[in-house]
């Protein structure tokens, strides 16, 4: 049953190593064969990463001055947000952007590797490291780099570049940030607190400072790329990060229909939780989070990060909870996007449902599909903590049913 306050997806802005925008991703989701992965194995060796595709930043960030104020992490977010607005047909709608709410899932921006190296190297020769720090930071830090590093400045730049100014909120906390961002946007639209919200995030994976954080747990894969579901602990096992930008325009059905917007899909439910993962408690929470999911005609987009033990647990749970549903582990195709991981899963799910896609396996262990799904389940299990599940339903076309409220 349709309702005026249903939360619908009307815009998708997506960038991965597979390409820029919806077209290459629809192609990937509707192809007859598994995608050819794009992996950079040399530049950050021994760490493989899925790199950015060729991007003409000017296509979404018109002013060179704006481009220069950012590093790639913020650029990618601002660019992807622009794609989503374009896709929703709202890019040049000043009234819509001026009242649009925004929730960005963000980590932090790029360190200046050269300055950090300079300080560290000098520090090895001196025993007054704190004084050294003051000297070098005062003279070597670029003032604008602070702004490129600040978490909430991705959103700030989206306001500047795309004029999205209804509200601006930035959520932090790795994968959970992306889950909470979608969950909060959903709850606000459902309750009538927002009519249209831009939500998403980005990760620039081609950064040694980010790889370092993952490797502090020895959680990053090394060596050649390996299939997502067949990575093992130890050499080559673990997370392969991907440069990803994923933004969605969410609207109430009423708001979307009033402007005759294209509706990709309806979000039926979204939720997140956290806590100890011992003694089956992870699976208990996932059961709770997925109560709204239908059993049949459903595809699962799993955001499994690549951590072998956690991926195995998730797969086992999925096979118990959704025995009929084909599973597609999307970080096997484009890498793990941390804060952007959950929005990325929703973006892919929305495109697949709208295209009626018979999605090819991303991995030999994933079963083939025979018919287009009506529903999609999106999962993201944080590599350290936090879990989220969303349930989406394909849009059945406008006008077929009357709004019930």
């Amino acid at each position: 049953m349709k309702a005026a306050n249903d939360v619908v997806i009307t815009g998708v802005g997506i960038v991965t190593s597979q390409g820029v925008g919806v077209a290459p991703h629809i192609a990937l989701l509707t192809a007859g064969a598994p995608p050819a992965v794009v992996v950079e194995t040399e530049r950050f060796a021994p760490y493989p990463v899925h790199p950015l595709p060729a991007i003409d930043w000017s296509a979404q960030i018109a002013k060179r001055g704006d481009q220069r104020q950012m590093e790639n992490w913020q650029r990618l977010g601002v660019f992807s947000a622009g794609l989503a607005l374009d896709d929703a047909g709202l890019k040049d709608d000043a009234e819509a952007c001026g009242t649009m709410d925004m929730i960005v899932a963000a980590g932090g921006g790029e360190r200046d590797i050269a300055v950090d190296s300079l300080i560290v190297d000098e520090g090895l020769k001196r025993n007054d490291r704190e004084h050294l720090l003051n000297e070098k930071l005062t003279t070597e830090l670029r003032p604008t780099l602070f702004l490129a590093q600040l978490s909430n400045l991705m959103a700030g730049n989206i306001s500047i570049v795309h004029k999205v100014t209804g509200s601006s909120r930035t959520f932090m906390g790795e994968e959970a940030a992306g889950i909470s961002a979608v969950e909060t946007a959903f709850a606000r639209i459902k309750a009538g607190q927002s009519s249209h919200t831009l939500v998403g995030g980005a990760l620039s994976a081609e950064r040694l400072d980010i790889i370092l954080l993952v490797e502090a747990l020895q959680a990053h894969a090394t060596g050649p790329w390996r299939q997502l579901w067949s990575r093992s602990e130890g050499e080559g096992g673990g997370i392969i990060l991907g440069s990803v930008g994923a933004f969605l325009v969410l609207e109430s059905r009423e708001h979307a229909e009033a402007r005759n917007a294209r509706i990709y899909a309806t979000i039926d439910a979204v939720g997140g939780d956290r806590g100890s993962r011992d003694d089956g408690r992870l699976e208990q929470r996932l059961d709770q989070l997925s109560t709204a999911a239908p059993a049949g005609e459903t595809i699962v987009f799993s955001g499994a990060s690549g951590l072998a033990a956690l991926a195995a647990r998730e797969r086992a749970w999925l096979e118990t909870r959704f025995p009929q549903a084909p599973v597609r582990g999307y970080s096997g195709a484009v890498g793990h996007g941390i804060e952007a991981q959950f929005p990325l899963g929703l973006a892919l799910a929305a495109l697949a449902l709208d295209a009626g896609a018979i999605v090819p396996p991303f991995d030999p262990s994933e079963p083939a599909m025979t018919r287009a799904p009506k529903h999609a389940v999106v999962t993201t299990l944080g590599h350290g903590r936090g879990e989220g599940v969303a349930v989406l339903t394909a849009h059945a076309g406008t006008g077929a049913e009357e709004l019930s409220s």
Binding site: Q69, G108, I113, A114, D116, S117, I119, V120, G123, L124, R129, E130, H131, L133, N134, E135, L137, T138, L141, P143, F146, L147, Q149, L150, S151, N152, L153, A155, G156, S159, I160, V164, T165, G166, S167, S168, R169, T170, F171, M172, G173, E174, A176, I179, S180, A187, A191, Q193, L208, I211, L212, L213, E215, A216, L217, R274, R385, G386, E387, G388
Partner: protein, 427 residues
């Protein structure tokens, strides 16, 4: 639900039933309020790190909380834990909180001490700018979960969730210097959505380090009037020259008024309305016409369902930067018109400095305390008024005044603007 528990739009009224606060003035609401209304400054010389070559050598750091490791995550967590214990005790809530957690926390990065320690166990440099390659080689040899944990944005909310038994996935947010207000707004929204009857809203910032200070310094945001430290923060004066970087935390327990009354809780005040508006003008500067700040204030008043003339006191953002104070005055003038002359407006930051991520919540606590006690905290260091800013800033000395509705503003880098309206408990 009886009408007494609903607001002008039929939504549940939101009660504040517990408050906790830490600033450089001390720990706990009682000590803070005594100092704040006594016109005492918490600003002092920086002792956490050497400052001899720095142009700013003062701060409002919190140096009296014990932490197991000296880093931003530990300091921020410890302060948030303490203010939450205080707030829950006041609210009379023990055991699991069983409602969502909304946490305003500073963006964090590895500490320099951690980078130096990593460098000490890393292989030698082979070419310029290869420190991170060496760090990675060291991590492949031996993982460092402490390094990882100290750089995780989710680390603070995770610990608070476990400690206090909050429900669901906690939100960790940053809207720069408006973060504390945004955390409260998220709590208000969650109760209005009907998905909870209570929310724990926490804001904390223990992130003052040499790099943090230098970054703000390079943007010319900080006061350089180092001597004497307690005189540096002078909002709305002619000789104000920047904010004083500071630390602090605050927790507010929010409940639907109905739920609070039903369990016999003491209602401290009502969180009546929230407003926000993003600014597209510049990354660090506000629109000179104050448009977004005006919109934020008006949105908060509309959300609260009260008129401009109902506001009896404004707890200003009042950072003591030349630009903010001018812009904020302009925005208030636009909203309140000639009525502004009759509204006392003071800045807590004259005494506690700018607690950054925590400021919106710290100042919300002080706003509610203003209503509860009938005492307006002063703006200290108001010796040389800016003639272009015609405000009753409650200069230098506290004032007795019963107010029933207070506006608190928070503005931040990245075009962040948030405003809160708090009112007296409906007797």
């Amino acid at each position: 639900m009886s009408d007494a528990y609903r607001d002008h739009l039929g939504r549940p009224l939101i009660a504040v039933t517990g408050m906790g606060v830490i600033t450089s003035l001390g720990q706990g609401l009682q000590d803070n309020w005594a100092a704040l209304t006594g016109g005492v400054s918490g600003i002092h010389k920086i002792t956490r790190f050497p400052t001899d070559s720095l142009s700013t050598r003062i701060c409002g750091t919190v140096d009296f909380i014990d932490v197991p490791n000296e880093n931003s995550v530990e300091r921020s967590y410890a302060m948030a834990r303490e203010t939450t214990l205080e707030a829950l005790a006041q609210a009379g809530i023990s055991g699991d909180f069983d409602g969502p957690l909304f946490l305003a926390a500073p963006p964090i990065e590895p500490e320099w001490s951690a980078r130096f320690a990593l460098a000490d166990r890393s292989p030698p440099s082979e070419q310029p700018a290869d420190a991170y390659n060496r760090f990675l080689a060291a991590m492949r040899q031996k993982a460092d979960p402490v390094f990882y944990e100290a750089a995780l944005f989710g680390a603070i909310s995770e610990r608070l969730s476990d400690r206090f038994g909050t429900r669901g996935l906690p939100v960790t947010l940053s809207t720069a210097c408006a973060s504390g207000a945004t955390a409260i707004q998220l709590g208000v929204e969650a109760i209005r959505q009907g998905r909870t009857t209570r929310a724990l809203t926490v804001a904390t910032d223990g992130s003052v380090s040499a790099e943090a200070l230098i970054r703000f310094s390079l943007l010319s945001a900080l006061s350089t009037q180092n001597d004497p430290p307690e005189k540096a923060s002078k909002p709305f004066t002619r000789d104000r020259d920047g904010f004083v970087i500071a630390e602090g935390a605050a927790t507010l327990v929010l409940e639907s008024l109905e739920a609070a009354i039903a369990r016999g809780a003491k209602v401290l005040g009502i969180l009546k309305g929230c407003g926000e508006k993003a600014d597209l003008f510049h990354r660090t500067r506000s629109s000179p016409d104050g448009g977004p700040a005006i919109a934020s204030i008006r949105a908060a008043l509309a959300d609260a369902g009260i008129a401009e003339s109902d506001i009896g006191y404004v707890n200003a953002h009042g950072t003591s930067t030349p630009e903010n104070d001018k812009m904020e005055y302009g925005a208030m003038s636009a909203v309140f018109g000639e009525g502004l002359a009759r509204i006392p407006v003071s800045s807590n930051k004259s005494m506690i400095g700018h607690t950054l991520t925590a400021a919106g919540a710290v100042e919300a606590v002080f706003s509610l305390q203003t209503i509860l006690t009938g005492t307006l905290p002063p703006t200290i260091n108001y010796q040389n008024p800016d003639p272009a800013i015609a405000l009753d800033v409650v200069p230098n000395v506290k004032r007795d005044a019963q107010v029933t509705a207070v506006l608190s503003n928070s503005f931040g880098f990245g075009g962040q603007n948030a405003s809160l309206v708090m009112t007296a408990e409906p007797a």
